[in-house]
Amino acid sequence: MRPLARAWLALVLAFLYVPVAVMVAMGLNASPLYALPLHFSLHWFAALAGDDAILLATRNSLLVALVTCVVATAIGTLAAVALARPDLRGRGVLQALLLPPIGIPWLISGTAMLVFFSWTGIGRGLHSMMLGHVALATPYVVLVVGPGLKALPPNLEDAAKSLGATPADAFRSVTLPLLLPSVVAAALFAFAVSLDQFVISYFLATPGVTTLPVLIYGAIRSGFTPEINAVSTALLAASVVLLLGFARLAGVGGFLGRR
């Protein structure tokens, strides 16, 4: 069974990386129109180095994504813990309320946020993008952490409390470590949701303050070049380095191998 399982996993990963491989390859292809066959060129990477607009937008994207990731993961995990309590009333309604941010098309949410934020004086800019992104990412966090909580042995916290731990201690020292894989997954998703969000960011961007996906979206009409592939590739490479460092920090046995 095991070789078969591993083969399946490898196949799935290969599928996930097909477009990524194409993206990288086209960033290294001389043709501005993604024509085949491939003619190797570093032209687009070189162009990138001098393109302040793209670099600044990338920096903004990372900043918003990082804040979104931290805030959404924190508040979403708390909400997931509360939603998992057996004596909670109105669970169905509370869970249903998580759906509109995911289910309403971004164009509606984006327009709605813009109108509301302008009206209330919150305004546009990076701060309102963060406000919007956190709202969008939090339901993902709750829905990813939730199943992880349900899978925990039910009486652990009670056991810890009966041994004299305060509820907060019991959560911190017993539940949280066991929950870590789900929390990490949720955080990675929250980051991804923000980093890829272009519609809401588009509405909430001010002239001159933009993010990478907005830049790409705005450039569609005039036609964007493989420079976009190059910056995506660079960003991906940076992510790999970052994650490798993170995985190393997580220690021997890895962050998933707590059991």
Binding site: L33, T111, L114, V115, S118, W119, G218, I220, S222, F224
Partner: protein, 359 residues
């Protein structure tokens, strides 16, 4: 259902406040005397970096940009940000409507010296004028018409090629209601701006179904799909076709068939609430200057300039010049003002057609 809301009523309810605030009501900090803000499509001439540098060197005026991704968004931005913009790019089909709303003001041509070189038919086009006053300075014009793969499609001189069984599954349409309904209008001998028989248009569009492979919405999408060999006949923009020929060496032939083409004219206007009108006019004058246009056409490839002098300075074999023949200007039907109801009817028809193509 309920009764209509009076204007005062709207103001009293949150509606107007919301919309007034919509699409960025954040007011600009008191503008520096020598800064103007231009509202345009991204990557459409006015934001060419070299041009802005040159303009700043000559006049000391810094140009900033805000962009829109659809015409309705442009109108909303103008309406909800009074004072934020000094120059706006407006498709002349909407100029009169926007002027009627009081959002843009008449321009004194004597303040725009280069206007004397503009092709008179474009400069004084009915789309841009009201009561003899100019509400927009004609800047660039072009056509939406037929583009075919050279060597594969031969002798096409009619939009009928879009429903020719020889090109089953080999055609692409532009995802724009006004253009596609306009094509149907041309095919049935009607005015593109005021067709009376939408049923006949629907019939023509319906007949194209077996051929339609792709409904495109951006230049890069068109070019990439063309390079990948997805289609052989399509509706395309004249300026983009010139770019495809000159810059990317694609085997594209742009054709104005016997039914005619859909013309469009883009103008530059000054919002009534602009804070720096003198600088705005200087910038517009620079934008219609042949020196700017020639460099722009060379660097990026553009649609046709409304400035006759600029066009005459292009090389005779330049695709921009061979595609945009001067005689078309008088023969073309240009996209003009559409009453809301008619525009809605066009949009409804096109949505229905798209759903039909998909089914």
């Amino acid at each position: 259902m309920g009764g209509s809301i009076s204007r005062r009523g709207v103001n009293a309810t949150m509606g107007a406040a919301l919309v007034a605030a919509a699409l960025g009501a954040r007011s600009r900090p008191a503008a520096a005397a020598e800064t103007i803000t231009v509202l345009n499509w991204q990557g459409y001439g006015t934001d060419e970096a070299w041009a802005l540098k040159l303009f700043a060197e000559h006049t000391g005026i810094t140009v900033r940009h805000d962009y829109f991704n659809s015409e309705p968004e442009m109108v909303t931005k103008l309406r909800s940000n009074p004072g934020a913009y000094d120059v706006a790019l407006i498709n002349s089909a909407r100029t009169r409507t926007i002027a009627a709303d009081g959002l843009i003001e008449a321009i004194d041509l004597s303040q725009v010296p280069n206007a004397k070189d503009l092709t008179p038919a474009l400069r004084d086009h009915a789309n841009l004028t009201e009561g003899g006053k100019h509400y927009g300075i004609s800047w660039v014009w072009g056509m939406n018409s037929l583009a075919v793969r050279r060597g594969v499609v031969k002798g096409a001189d009619s939009y009928a090629v879009l429903s020719d069984p020889a090109y089953k599954n080999r055609a692409a349409l532009f995802d724009d209601a006004v253009t596609e309904v306009g094509i149907g209008a041309l095919m049935t001998g009607q005015s593109i701006n005021a067709p009376t028989d939408l049923g006949a248009i629907k019939q023509r569009l319906t007949a194209m179904k077996p051929n339609i492979k792709l409904i495109w919405s951006s230049e890069s999408e068109w070019n990439k799909a063309f390079v990948a060999g997805a289609f052989d006949v399509a509706i395309y923009w004249s300026g983009a076709a010139a770019r495809a020929q000159k810059r990317y060496n694609l085997p594209v032939d742009f054709i104005v068939p016997k039914e005619g083409a859909i013309g469009w004219l883009d103008g530059l206007s000054v919002p009534s609430a602009a804070k720096n009108k003198a600088a705005a006019l200087k910038f517009i004058n620079f934008m219609i200057d042949p020196s700017f246009y020639l460099q722009w056409a060379k660097d990026a490839g553009a649609a046709a300039s409304a400035n006759a002098k600029a066009m005459s300075e292009l090389a005779p074999d330049n695709p921009i010049r061979t595609i945009h023949k001067a005689e078309y200007i008088s023969a073309l039907q240009f996209m003009s003002t559409l009453p809301d109801e008619r525009r809605k009817a066009f949009v409804d028809l096109w949505s229905e057609m798209k759903a039909f193509y998909a089914g």
